[in-house]
């Protein structure tokens, strides 16, 4: 029931050699994988984008300098859009190309294409967009957006205002309890996928064909139909090998795809590559939403939570994009995995003049979990309790009702998760040892901190019902089973995990399963590749498709009830001989009893959660304020580990991203509201030299809704590192740091405040 794996030899061997090789491993290791920038077509054009410079305003005119031979170029503006000038998302408030009014710097206005990529820089400089600012100054901060007298970007500058309420905070306040109150902030975060975004468009036999770096082929497909006015069957979207995404390629690929499509349509169907450079990608594509949380916690003297009262606000940027769903996930996770009868979370997504913020691994949860987990440590300090004791006293157990009103089902045991984490890192001994060490007041201070949390897998609430995902299997004469899904591989190991699930369900070797290329002409819509839903939701659909395939082979091709791989293939050959290639598509089935009322945020928001306790150990240099993470423990209850290496890789990668979020990744905004440090030199993510040994341990109680009891794990590891690290720093220094990233500059200042 318990597996463990880590890069720490004290904990035994890694199961690397036992796990099947990644499906996409060889082509990536050998450099033969084809990314969009690797593709060339004869006569293809290269395109660039001219953008607005002011943080909102109107365009008075666009002029083109004479010295450029414009006849050699293809030039596209909003007037060339055959369909609707809006990017199809939750709403359609964002133009594909700006015509007159716009809301932020960096909005696309003109597209220019030429066969020679080196002819683009001069032409771009020869396009003059005459911009007029709005009367009121731009709005860049959450509090400014909420003030009544500032510039209005959307109605009241609030995209969504949600309330999750359980019991009555007001009543709980009347009874005697200890109250802790503070405000927490999290910064924006850039995905920094290795491969910048890019799309290639062309007309092929009257069909608009777009391929590129993306997470969600059918989102792009829908956006293309909307902007071009072409019918479904005349639009085709394919995924290329994708070099990382983390949510950053959920939505923005639709923009680039529309742009590339407009150019190819104007250029008579010639292939067009629109590939962003790193600087452009970082400046204009969405990032993690910055947030502000006001947290009030009421507790009895012995540390039982009496109320949790949170005011949570995220900066949505200049258009709505995905902010409503980021917000709802943030709300549901804001009160953590704790038992508390009185909970109130008010949550708003506000409009500012930044480029829109968007999906990023964790999707609102890392923000709200950071605030709560950091506040819990401060509450523990106030109550003179150990942080682990406070958590153990309140964490949800089977039979409890979660803050969103969901009943927790066994057999999962969060006490065991916490116990395992504390034991693995020798927590109690270290707490004591570091206390003594720090009493000497040397240059290096040491601290240890933890966070306990859970993360819901799949679309929030009734989202999966609305998606009605489909996925399937295809088998031909040779018995090779091909997975048909629009779920995309972007480095996370989805091909490997899903192949393992199908192989297991069919009782055939892993090598007998392959994954078809995501191509909207060939694969059904399995929903977007987001929200930790691949293994749990799509995996479950595929497991049922596998059952259907076996049933078909039994009925139509005499597959014996007990069979070896040879007999399986023979049966496939018979099936093929009788009826050709067989395709079996299965539909999503909603778990029974999972109702959700979005209007009051009560019910079952997710089919299952993964549960975790993370512990960080830090050393802070009091001379420079630099923090070094010396050890990290990540213990999680994930229901079931489907593929050991892929799962451990997800956790380690997420922890590293979380370390970056906590200590290094500081998106700086210029006066125009765009990211100013939009270069890898200046936007600092951790390198391997900054990463400690990461102990990854899994508990597998089979509680999840996925195949064999698996829950989703993709986003979980993003939630815990930031609060665990900040708690460790505050423990080391006695400071009250309440934001991430906590840079050396802030840490020294916090030490000053403490001494003052």
């Amino acid at each position: 029931m318990y597996t463990s794996m880590h890069n720490d030899s004290r904990f035994g061997t890694t199961p690397l050699k036992d796990a099947p090789l990644r499906k996409d491993g060889m082509e990536k290791v050998r450099g033969t994988a084809r990314y969009v920038a690797d593709i060339t077509y004869p006569g293809m054009l290269h395109a660039v984008t001219a953008r607005t410079r002011l943080p909102g305003g109107t365009i008075a005119s666009i002029t083109f300098d004479d010295h450029v031979p414009w006849s050699e170029y293809v030039v596209v503006t909003a007037r060339d859009i055959p369909g609707i000038n809006a990017v199809k998302m939750i709403e359609t408030d964002q133009p594909v190309l700006v015509e007159t009014h716009y809301r932020h710097a960096g909005e696309p206005v003109v597209l220019i294409a030429h066969p020679d990529p080196q002819a683009l820089a001069d032409a771009l400089a020869a396009v003059h967009i005459d911009e007029r600012p709005y009367a009121k100054p731009p709005v860049f901060a959450i509090e400014e957006a909420l003030r009544a007298d500032t510039r209005r970007i959307a109605a009241d500058n609030v995209y969504r205002d949600y309330l999750m309420e359980k019991g009555s905070v007001m009543d709980a306040e009347k009874e005697s309890c200890q109250v802790f109150e503070a405000e927490y902030h999290t910064g924006a975060q850039e995905h920094l996928y290795i491969e910048p975004q890019g799309m290639m468009a062309r007309m092929e036999g009257g069909i608009l064909t777009v391929e590129g770096s993306l997470q969600c082929p059918y989102y792009v497909h829908a956006a293309l139909m909307y902007a071009t006015g072409l019918p479904e069957e005349r639009v085709r979207v394919l995924q290329c090998a994708t070099g990382g995404a983390f949510g950053g390629k959920e939505e923005y690929p639709s923009h680039i795809a529309c742009h590339a499509a407009l150019v190819t349509m104007k250029a008579g169907g010639r292939p067009v590559a629109l590939i962003y450079g790193r600087g452009e990608d970082m400046a204009v594509t969405p990032k993690r939403h910055p947030s502000r949380s006001r947290v009030r916690l009421g507790a009895s003297r012995d540390g039982r939570l009496r109320f949790i009262d949170i005011d949570f606000v995220i900066d949505g940027g200049a258009y709505l994009t995905l902010s409503p769903v980021v917000l709802s996930r943030g709300v549901i996770h804001a009160a953590g995995p704790y038992r508390c009868d009185n909970v109130r979370v008010r949550a708003r997504a506000v409009a500012t003049n930044h480029p829109p913020f968007g999906a990023f691994r964790g999707f609102g949860a890392p923000q709200s979990i950071f605030a709560l987990e950091a506040a819990l440590d401060e509450l523990a300090r106030m109550l003179e309790m150990e942080p682990d004791v406070l958590r153990r006293r309140n964490v949800l157990a089977p039979g409890d009702i979660s803050p969103a009103g969901q009943r927790i089902e066994g057999p999962l045991d969060m006490q065991r998760v916490i116990g395992q984490a504390l034991e693995a890192c020798d927590y109690h001994a270290k707490v004591e040892a570091y206390r003594q060490w720090n009493a000497q007041k040397g240059a290096i201070r040491k601290g240890i901190g933890l966070a306990t949390f859970y993360h819901g897998a799949g679309f929030t609430g009734n989202g999966e019902l609305a998606l009605r995902s489909r996925a399937g299997l295809r088998v031909g004469a040779d018995g090779l089973v091909e997975i048909l899904t629009s779920t995309t591989e972007m480095g996370q190991g989805m091909q490997t995990t899903l192949s393992g699930i199908v192989a297991e369900a069919l009782r055939i070797p892993y090598e007998g399963v392959a994954v078809a290329r995501p191509d909207t002409r060939d694969v059904p819509n399995s929903g977007p590749t987001v929200a930790s839903r691949t293994c749990m939701v799509v995996g479950a659909i595929l497991a049922r498709a596998a059952d259907d395939l076996i049933a078909r082979l039994r009925a139509d091709a005499a597959l014996p009830s007990v069979y070896g791989y040879g007999e399986f293939r023979d049966a496939c050959a018979r099936l093929h001989a009788a009826g050709g290639v067989t395709t079996i598509i299965a539909d999503y089935r909603h778990p029974a009893g999972n109702e959700w009322d979005e209007s009051v945020f009560q019910g079952s928001p997710y089919a299952s959660f993964a549960w975790a306790c993370y512990v960080a150990e830090v050393e802070v240099d009091a001379v420079t304020g630099e923090t070094r993470i010396v050890d990290f423990t990540a213990v999680q209850e994930v229901g079931r580990v489907v593929h050991a290496t892929v799962a451990a890789g997800q956790i380690e990668g997420g922890v590293v991203q979380g370390i970056g979020y906590a200590l290094f990744e500081d998106v700086r905004f210029g006066a125009d509201g765009q990211m100013a440090n939009n270069r890898i030199t200046n936007y600092i993510i951790p390198t391997s030299a900054d990463i400690p040994p990461i102990r990854v341990l899994f508990l597998e109680s089979r509680h999840g809704a996925g195949p064999g009891g698996a829950a989703g794990i993709g986003e979980l590891p993003m939630d815990g590192p930031a609060p665990a690290i900040i708690n460790a720093i505050n423990a080391a220094l006695g400071t009250e740091i309440r934001h991430v990233p906590a840079m050396p500059e802030h840490i020294l200042a916090a030490m000053d405040r403490r001494s003052a």
């Binding site: 080196q118 771009l124 450079g277 420079t624 200046n682 390198t687």
Partner: protein, 286 residues
């Protein structure tokens, strides 16, 4: 774009005299970062094949380092490691392994970034550089090499030939510390190298070289004067801070704040002086 790659130094010098617009390129680790792939390229003079610019030579007075010597070569060189440990340390703190295999010392100082990691050490050790052209060879003390933000005294027809680093007296304290944005592959927020010989009241040499606290790498002369001018012990923190205030022109930028830089500069100076801080200086009085 044209690419010239002569093998002989005189050919390279002749080419540059004829075409002073050519951009010399050594490891390319600065130049390539700045290139815009959407614009037409420049013409380059690759120095990579010019053997005369390679190598690290030991001389009786110091170590002569060819402009093309890489960070890896410098960081591992036995004489450098033994006699000039601060330079070995700064070479190993430049970028990370892959960059160190290509990045040259000549390129590091010719790029003339105020954040160049090896500049403080060269200032502290009192290095000099040779600049060569068809017409002549001249030697310039490194402390006079940077004439402004990203500007050096090199003339367009000149090639940087060698960096000469004199040995330090026996018993010297060689100090180097880089405070970057992370542990590797980082541009420094503050870099400090110090060469300290003697003791409070009887200093023989006090040289502090800084990066990232002004428009160029700087030799902190006011700081040195304050330390050598203190008859007994060391100046107190206020005295050090006041002197640093005259040397530093720290600014807020994308990587850090002026305040943090000033403060870290002081903390690093204190750390460099640590061996003496508890002997007869202000600390002893506490």
């Amino acid at each position: 774009m044209r690419w010239y790659a002569p093998r002989k130094l005189h050919e390279a010098l002749a080419l540059l005299t004829e075409r002073p617009d050519l951009i010399p390129i050594a490891g390319g680790t600065d130049i390539m970062v700045g290139r815009d792939p959407r614009a037409c390229g420049h013409d380059y003079l690759s120095l990579a094949n010019v053997a005369a610019l390679r190598g690290i030579r030991e001389t009786p007075a110091g170590v002569a380092i060819g402009a093309l010597a890489t960070m890896t070569e410098i960081g591992r060189h036995p004489i450098v490691c033994r006699a000039l440990p601060a330079l070995a340390a700064s070479a190993r703190a430049t970028g990370a392994f892959a960059i160190q295999n290509r990045a040259t010392l000549g390129g590091n100082i010719m790029n003339a970034s105020p954040a160049a990691d090896n500049a403080p050490v060269l200032l502290a050790y009192g290095a000099s550089v040779s600049l060569m052209s068809v017409a002549r060879l001249r030697h310039v003390p490194y402390e006079n090499f940077h004439s402004g933000y990203k500007v050096t005294v090199r003339r367009p027809e000149e090639i940087l030939g060698e960096i000469f680093v004199p040995y330090a007296p026996l018993g010297a304290r060689h100090y180097f510390r880089k405070v970057g944005t992370r542990r590797a592959q980082a541009i420094s927020k503050v870099g400090l190298a110090a060469l300290l010989v003697g003791r409070p009241g009887a200093w023989e040499r006090v040289r502090f070289g800084f990066s990232s606290v002004a428009a160029t790498p700087i030799l902190a002369c006011a700081l040195a004067a304050t330390i050598t001018g203190t008859a007994r012990g060391l100046p107190d923190d206020e005295g050090l801070a006041e002197a640093l205030g005259r040397d530093l022109a720290a600014r807020d930028d994308i990587r850090s704040t002026a305040e943090y830089r000033r403060r870290i500069a002081l903390n690093l100076v204190r750390e460099a002086l640590a061996p003496w801080r508890h002997q007869g200086g202000c600390d002893a009085g506490q």
